[in-house]
């Protein structure tokens, strides 16, 4: 089981590396025109691209958004995150395993 998990992670990471290379070398300038001529920041994106390569592939192959579409998408994401992040924090606090709640021991039988 452990070997299967490691193999799956390696395959996922390998594909992610290929997608990251493709995206950073050929696709990023079409997805975000502001990236034209900017190279120093691109290596910083590699870890995120490797981890999120299915999303990158989906968005990278879609028609590039521009101008107002970008701003509208950012606004939607901003609103969504402002709801989801507090829910995640508060939900994880509410659902976590709490500290010991006293349950007195019961003697079932004498020795």
């Amino acid at each position: 089981m452990a070997h299967a998990i490691i193999l799956a992670a390696q395959v996922y990471g390998g594909v992610g590396g290929l997608v990251a290379a493709w995206f950073l070398l050929w696709r990023i300038e079409r997805v975000d025109p502001m990236a034209r001529g900017a190279y120093a920041f691109r290596p910083l994106l590699i870890p995120g691209l490797v981890l999120l390569w299915p999303l990158v592939l989906w968005r990278g192959l879609a028609r590039p958004a521009e101008g107002r579409e970008f701003r509208a998408a950012h606004a939607r994401i901003w609103v969504g995150l402002s709801i989801v992040l507090p829910l995640l924090v508060l939900g994880s606090l509410a659902l976590r395993q709490n500290g010991p709640i006293e349950a007195p021991p019961v003697r079932l039988s004498a020795p």
Binding site: V89, P100, E102, A103, V106, L108, S109
Partner: protein
């Protein structure tokens, strides 16, 4: 009326437009206060990490007592002012290894060197060198049976719970506890309410030896178990039957 250019943000001027200054200041202050409140709120929800700690100031110490090997190595030291009935200390080697007691050592005097970690009355010596046999007066190793109990609590490793990790309990510590226990560190059952005066019990198998692998799925979780309890010196030993396990 301000000049038209004052409404624009111009990077090289190092100044914000006048109409934005108040807004930015209010947002920054509000954000700072919100973060302080969030930090305070989150910190308030954290469980008490307990009072376990290592006696690092004392450094490596030498302990002498009578050794027993089942279910795990226990060093029974002679009574003193703090422990009029004598005191049982758990043993583990530095590096998450068990102290293996050969059958011929059972009940004999042993000298161990190591670091002491303590949480309340629970003490463990992390041995740093091979123990050696010494001549000591025979000590009582009487076992007092306390009957069969149903106890709710958590399976922890005796090393981290005693003070090497803080808190050393809970779901966040599950992986570490699992790692320590697989290495052979004695497991401790931390009860939610005291059992015969003690909130922690060294664990063992009903057959008499160390706990079986049936324990691992329940490590770090609140679990209810039925099993025999006995007293060895001032240490309680719980021998649960894992077929009775209930996750409340």
């Amino acid at each position: 009326m301000s000049a038209p250019h004052e409404d624009f943000f111009i990077g090289w001027t190092d100044r914000l437009p006048p109409r934005d200054r108040g807004f930015i200041a209010r947002v920054a202050l509000g954000f700072l206060l919100a973060m302080l409140l969030l930090a305070f709120g989150l910190a308030r929800t954290m469980d008490d990490s307990g009072g376990g700690s290592g006696d690092w100031i004392a450094g490596e110490q030498t302990f002498r007592g009578t050794i027993t090997g089942q279910p795990y190595a226990l060093l029974h030291v002679a009574p003193d002012a703090a422990h009029p009935q004598g005191h049982a200390m758990m043993l583990a080697m530095v590096g998450k290894y068990p102290v293996v007691v050969p059958p011929e050592w059972e009940g004999r005097g042993l000298e161990v060197k190591g670091w002491l970690v303590r949480r309340g009355a629970l003490e463990m010596v992390q041995t740093t060198a091979e123990p050696r046999l010494v001549e000591l007066p025979a000590a009582s190793r009487a076992v007092e049976k306390l009957g069969r109990w149903r106890i709710t609590g958590e399976i922890c490793d005796g090393q981290c719970y005693a003070g090497l990790m803080r808190p050393g309990t809970g779901i966040a510590h599950r992986a570490c506890a699992d790692f320590c226990l697989q290495g052979g560190v004695p497991p401790v059952f931390v009860a939610t309410a005291p059992v015969a005066g003690s909130s922690f019990l060294l664990m063992g198998d009903p057959s008499g030896g160390p706990v079986s692998a049936a324990m691992y799925p329940f490590v770090g979780l609140r679990v209810r178990l039925d099993g025999e309890v006995e007293r060895r010196g001032d240490m309680l030993v719980f021998r649960p039957d894992f077929s009775t396990a209930v996750l409340p």
